[in-house]
Amino acid sequence: MTHLSRYTCEEAFRRLDGYLDHELSAEEMVLVREHLEVCAGCAREFNFESSVLKGVGQKLQQIDLPGDLQARILALLKDRQ
């Protein structure tokens, strides 16, 4: 861990999507996190984006499986066996 140099705001921002989606390399994740620890402006933006996407995900996960769908499918599969 000798070559790590802090990202600039621009370098961190370029990695916003990858950071929030956990698609960066481990080293990049660390470098972005380190930038966010010292840059309140970027941290606010990243937190806002993260919060929006998490909120969207949670809202859209709120759909219940129709009560009898599983039973119907399993019955169909049983017929096919």
Binding site: D21, E23, V52, K59, L60, Q61, Q62, I73
Partner: protein
Amino acid sequence: MAASGITAGRTFLRGRRGHTMYDMCDVSDDPATEIVATLDATAGTATTLSADEFQAMLVDALPSLYRYAFRLTRNRADAEDLVQDTALRAFRAIAQFEPGTNFKAWIFRILTRGFWASHRHNQRRPTTVDFDDTPDLYLYARSAEHGLQWKGEDPARALIDRLGAERVAEAIGQLPEEYGVVCTLCFVEDFAYHEIAGVLDVPVGTVRSRLHRGRKMLQKSLWYLAQEAGIVNALSKREANA
């Protein structure tokens, strides 16, 4: 006995290396032909799922499979039909699934292919929002402009919570399909980029670029709906009076 029937025809891909969901459907460019041609062929590697194992994995995946089908079809009856059809197709193709790989991604791919094959002609819904040149951090910037960066409460969550599940679904539904689908797979179903690439049969770079544009479009769509519903005004007033 189910297992013997399921593994019949195993010689179809003899000599082929262990395959994954990513090379499952590469017979032709036509999605309908592709599904029939590949999923009717009960082929596999040395190990396959038993019928019981398949059912257990299917039951685990059903809630998210239905959720995804509902996002694609936008109505419950079609979503149920699509999930049912997907389950049967997957069962017929059970020998093509390689145990140890991602079952959810595999069956999502089958569902996506099934949807494309039957719904391509009416996939688009009119969009009321102009998504061209949507800047980065759209929602953050608009919220700041309207004084919604208040202290104490998470402004993004406050906005999303007030929008509610129905409007959030409407917001993602307004996106052009190729963007709405990647957003759903990433933000709702938590698939990694390479898994989304497998589900949609596109390069990872395409997933990345669609997600980059899609999340900006989604934010613009959310903002317009929040304005339309009076949520922006209500929150601005609350903030001014705080």
